[in-house]
């Protein structure tokens, strides 16, 4: 029973449904099963590993120079981006050509950056989250949230791109309204 409440809480804190982070990326992810798995997987890696690095930055960064936070987060994501490309090239060279575009799209993405800042904000309000485990869990949950939102959009993808949808609204406009109505239902449960 409380699993249902946890699921509702997860939906309510969803990156996309309540914060509109990574909306453009999710349109790519919903296009096909391959896109969904690859994009969602890469974003989850970025948010999980990135949040661990963000914890170390937040531990060291003084409040007086908090404006440098974006710079350090960008450096971390940059290193992760390069490292992931190298790792895929070395250990999965068969799939490198296919996977690299998903890595390019997912790296400097609102979903990833937004997750790091959201976790930081949450940690500053709730001290119990301010530990490595808390950060990594939150980063992983953000990735799962992205996957859930992508699945929600994938379910309706064909209908939203159908020729029966008026041409002006076919595709992205209909997807935005669809996500808006789902987001509205999630909001009403709060």
């Amino acid at each position: 029973m409380f699993l249902i409440n946890d699921l509702i809480a997860l939906l309510a804190a969803n990156l996309i449904l309540s914060q509109a982070l990574g909306t453009s990326t999710i349109f790519i992810a919903a296009g096909s099963r391959k896109n969904l798995v690859a994009t969602a997987g890469v974003i989850t890696i970025f948010t999980t590993v990135g949040s661990a690095a963000a914890y170390l930055i937040d531990l060291v960064l003084q409040p007086s120079i908090s404006d440098l936070r974006l710079l350090f987060y960008t450096m971390v994501i940059g290193v992760l981006y390069a490292a992931l490309l190298v790792a895929v090239y070395k250990f999965g060279s068969r799939w490198f050509e296919e996977l690299r575009r998903y890595i390019h799209v997912s790296a400097f993405n609102c979903a990833v950056m937004g997750t790091l800042f959201t976790i930081n904000k949450r940690a500053s309000m709730d001290g119990t989250v301010f530990n490595l485990g808390g950060y990594v869990t939150a980063g992983f949950e953000a990735g799962i949230g992205f996957i859930i939102a992508a699945l929600i959009l994938t379910a309706a993808y064909r209908k939203l791109n159908s020729s029966k949808v008026p041409a002006s609204f076919r595709g992205f406009p209909a997807m935005l309204v669809y996500l808006g109505i789902i987001s509205m239902a999630v909001y009403s449960l709060k």
Partner: protein
Amino acid sequence: MQKKTRKERLIWLDIMITLLTLELMSYFYYGIRSVFLAGICVVTGFVAELVSLRFMKRSFTADDLTCTSDALILALMFPAVMDYHISVIAVLFAILVAKNLFGGRLNMIFSPAAAAFVFVLTSWDGQLLQYTEPHVKTGLFETPTNLVRSASYVFDHTGTFDHSDFEVLLGNFSGPAGAVSILLLVVAAIVLMMRRSISAGAFLGTIFGTGLFAVVTPMVSSRADSLKYSLVTNMVLFSAIYIVSDLRIAPKRDYYAFFYGLFIGVISYVLVLTGAKENAIVIVSVLFTPIALGFRHLEKKIDTAEQEHSEVDAGEAAVTAAGEEAASHE
């Protein structure tokens, strides 16, 4: 094998008849105001559909009259004294945004009434969840006074339901204009299921899911009372008939529809039990849209596979028959 689908206009007719009887009951309790509100909603829905079909370069047919039933469903979910401006905006949202933006009745994604109800809930929850007591008649343009919370709200928060079974059956308790006449709703459900105008699987699944959890994890000390009141409050019966079991949205195959309704019933019951969320079933039915779409997609794939299989079988049978004929000639 798929049952032959009835024409939309005939389904619309059945649903309208049941809705009109609910509206009649609403008139009995709340007077001409509720009828006027319903009239405004229906006219707005009709005009919105007409205009949007013109923009989509489609002609208006009898099947498009479903806009009026959607508008009437929405009107019956409102308090009888709902603000007219809000009602008009809600109907416009239902028809233009939740329905025709996605392609209209040819490409349904959301239940228009459910989506519009949630829209009103998030924007004007104060006006939506305040009702007049039954037999309190408000003038057409009079500001309503002595508004009360619904009996569902009281039950969700306190576990008490101070109305006799007779009052429950006749809908003599505060709540949405059309969602409280329990006896009429039960009759409507039976008639609509028999005439295949709603998804029997989805309806039975919803009732079973709600009922099962109401008995297993009761809201009040008596399991029988928990079962009874869980089904008559929070628009469960009304939504089970007109929203969850909407043939345009629910899965076509009864066993998929049953599970679809079952999960909606269970989750909405849990939300009422743990969070005292009034009318949770409507919200959950909107959230379950991707699942309904997933089921429909699965059904399409099954139908395509069955068709291909039967074509292959027919081809093989033809070849075998030709072979046998050739052999018999020899």
